[in-house]
Symmetry: C3
Subunit: 164 residues, 3 copies
């Protein structure tokens, strides 16, 4: 993918790139049950499923392709990625400790016949690529859930490798 400014990416930090995009990371959100929002195994950091929280409320609810437009689905995936980055920062402190974003797994609640979920998930991928640059170039998988907790249109899992 094209990056807007390769020189900037090479010299700036993920935190600076977040600021350049006007993104203020929220507090890492708590879980919806008897589990933790993230765990580290060796050098691998795994988040639990992240919702599109904004200021303590779900910014989007519903089914992608009916009550949630493709444009809002893209935005919801981007917002869930912001929450995932907040978890990662909570786990490692300094985002410069991330060697690479290894994987994004997007799970979506879609309407019958809606097949453009990969474009929606690009909302998460584009942000991760933009914030982490070359270190953000992740693998990906897409799932759908028939019904979602809190009627969220998306749950996002991010796996990241931490520098040894």
């Amino acid at each position: 993918m094209q990056q807007p400014d390769a020189a900037l990416l090479a010299t700036s930090t993920p935190e600076e790139r977040l600021a350049a995009e006007g993104i203020v990371l929220p507090r890492a959100p708590g879980p919806l049950g008897a589990y933790r929002p993230w765990v580290i195994v060796g050098s691998l950091l795994m988040t639990s499923g992240q919702f599109p929280w904004r200021e303590g409320k779900l910014a989007y609810t519903g089914r992608i392709g009916s009550s949630v437009s493709p444009r809002d689905a893209y935005a919801a995936c981007r917002l869930a990625a912001i929450n995932a980055i907040a978890q990662i920062k909570d786990a490692v402190g300094d985002l410069g400790r991330i060697k690479q974003i290894a994987r994004i797994e997007g799970t979506m609640q879609v309407a019958t016949g809606f097949r453009d979920h990969p474009k929606a998930l690009d909302g998460a991928s584009d942000l991760i690529n933009s914030v982490f640059g070359e270190a953000g170039r992740h693998s990906r998988m897409l799932y759908t859930n028939t019904e979602m907790p809190l009627d969220t249109p998306v749950l996002l899992v991010v796996l990241a490798e931490i520098h040894g």
Copy 2:
């Protein structure tokens, strides 16, 4: 989460805590196809999808929120977790070799409109937290399948880190 007896947790083994809960681990169940029930990669142990087997039969079948009550869904997740612990014990022999339960992934078969699956999955989380104590504090993700093999209401995957 609150643990009933922190002193007990600090000194007892997972096997002792299973016994204290009255749980006798079954034999590790075999697979439903040409695969293995668990694999170890480095220090990471991954189970295949675990069913709620009891004495060689599925103790629960059907769709959560219609033929399977929320209470039975919780019990099915707990039972699938018992089967997962049996796989882990088959893999490592002594559960004290588990450094941490890193992740639970619950995949459920739910009725239209049923959104309380996180509470059902707590059936697995609560048991893992209780048996493994601090080492059981896992990350989590929830999926739904439209149709399940053998009509099981849940398939449970557990990832665990083994002491080096």
Copy 3:
């Protein structure tokens, strides 16, 4: 599982076994969005979701159990596994560098009431077992998606451990 010729498996390479099955690996297919087809974390190689591509086109589309027969579903899973092996070869060059295939995750688009997806997924498992022999004996998980990108009946994820 039974292998047709244990002596052959012990002495031949995965590439030789592919040739013996008459399989010519395709070029590793590109992604459907802003992500990479595979990533390596430490010794763990993860593919993104692999489609049943044949010569640049999806060889199978539709819903397993209605427009896609069980036999074609098995073939689609086998073909997706061939594409996954192409990704693995793109990542490591020589398939002999694979210590083990750790996991297959099959995600399927199935018709209402269709429950024989484990047999379909054996199309991937049988091939991996045949090509990688003892090193192919993987764990497995099965998901369903309500709707699939490009109407594919299956997306296949493969995790492999690379020799250190």
